[in-house]
Subunit: 174 residues, 2 copies
Amino acid sequence: MEKEVEKKTIFRGNILNIEKYKVKLIDNTIASREVARFSGAVGVVLFSENRIVLVEQFRFPLGEKILEIPAGRLENEEPLHCATREVKEETGYSCKNIEKLTEIYTSPGFSDEVIHIFKADVEDHGEPNPDPGEFVDVVELSVEECLKKIKNGDIKDSKTIAGILFAVKLKEGD
Amino acid sequence: MEKEVEKKTIFRGNILNIEKYKVKLIDNTIASREVARFSGAVGVVLFSENRIVLVEQFRFPLGEKILEIPAGRLENEEPLHCATREVKEETGYSCKNIEKLTEIYTSPGFSDEVIHIFKADVEDHGEPNPDPGEFVDVVELSVEECLKKIKNGDIKDSKTIAGILFAVKLKEGD
């Protein structure tokens, strides 16, 4: 347990706030904690029969294009609603059989970010309708190709690795 | 591709810097990007025969204790060195057969954080020597218990889920 002694908001941004705390530790010493606070997000492992629907987009913080499961930030809505909305916006597809798999913490050392991970099946195909300024390519890969790309490092996004391996490799018996 | 037009450093912290950019998108519109920049980190899936060595610690941003693989931030060192150092500090164990599995991006939408994921075997047991202010309990679970805890949501940390499923579920054939 760490008890808050002092809190200062350093930065209020569009997608995150940065807060700096002084906290009292269990040995009564004082330590500082930097925290990035988020609204939460969703990611969807979207199956089109034996294929998985991914999106490829340029990620400015990394300076490269990467493959990810469709995902996005909560906008004052339930995670399930956000999941179907983001799938539709990014891929154009509507989905069925949507089911929550788990929640993941992306960076518990400094952030409260939670991503709700779902799986779903494609229902209807359609045209993507991304947010302004969002340029996303839809990439469909077989499950086997996804596993290969995780293994050889072509897929590096943590929600994507955790989500796909959870959906594909954790069986009833586990 | 997104081209940097303007950059402002908002915050320089102990573990991260926050930068705010204006960028030019491929359609020539201007957008803002908030980026959290890190030094990088490591995580180690540490096997003690058929058991996995985890650490449990209070994470202030989340307000709870969680289970994670041993992990820590790079301190001007190679990831491999950091991996053996962090295992030793957090668990007291020295390790052998250390091998890099992959790298993961924790939050590519707003952060450049990369975690280098290793697997290793316990060589010698010893006493933990955590950093000041770091209170960590060592928890050893069978592989089966780890998979159960991932499946039922008791393990939520993304590097831990991705690392364990990568180490345990991706076989030579994949």
